[in-house]
């Protein structure tokens, strides 16, 4: 595993940057939808950001990014469950 060097084509870096496109759409959903639709958008955004972090950890040879990505994915599940319960009970 090697960190990216300037001037060379890196498919993984480019692929990680491509994920900003659906991320923008997910953020648009979060901004515009009703409360359940916003939660769905947040779930999508969480998956995309966690995937980007895992990819960037490989591109830049930084293991900590992958740990942050895995932690974000785990926390995203718990947060969605908690917020869905909150929506169901009180909103």
């Amino acid at each position: 595993m090697a960190a990216v060097s300037p001037g060379t084509f890196n498919g993984m870096l480019f692929g990680a940057e491509l994920l900003f496109l659906p991320l923008a759409a997910a953020l648009w959903i979060v901004l515009r939808g009703d409360s359940v639709r916003r939660l769905i958008g947040l779930q999508l955004a969480g998956m995309l950001v966690a995937t980007q972090l895992v990819l960037l950890s490989i591109v830049f040879a930084t293991e900590e990014f992958a740990d942050v990505g895995v932690t974000l994915a785990l926390l995203s599940i718990g947060a969605t469950l908690a917020y869905a319960h909150f929506l169901e009970r009180w909103l």
Binding site: M1, F9, N10, G11, M12, F14, G15, A16, L18, L19, L21, P22, A25, A26, W28, I29, D34, V36, R37, L39, I40, G41, Q43, L44, M47, L48, A50, T51, V54, L55, S57, I58, E63, A66, D67, G69, V70, A73, L74, S76, I77, T80, L81, A84, H85, L87, E88, L91
Partner: protein, 95 residues
Amino acid sequence: MARQIATLVLLFAAMLFALLSALGILRSKNNLAALHCLGVTSVTLPLLTMVAVLVDVGAGVSAVKTVSFVVILLLGGPISAHAIAVAEHRRTPHG
């Protein structure tokens, strides 16, 4: 170079599925249909990412971390979707 291109193609496919999923969520008439669209990404994104990483770096610490990440997403996606669907169903009786 071939590995880089294969990785890029796989990640491009993942991006395409995620984008279609986001557009589907935007265009859905109700929230359960939007959840159905979310399911596309919650399966294809982790799997295509895992294959891309395995193609690019092969077996190693990064691959193990990616596989654990993929397992978390594949297990957590349906659980979260189910929780959201139950909340939506109870909020709107005909939802």
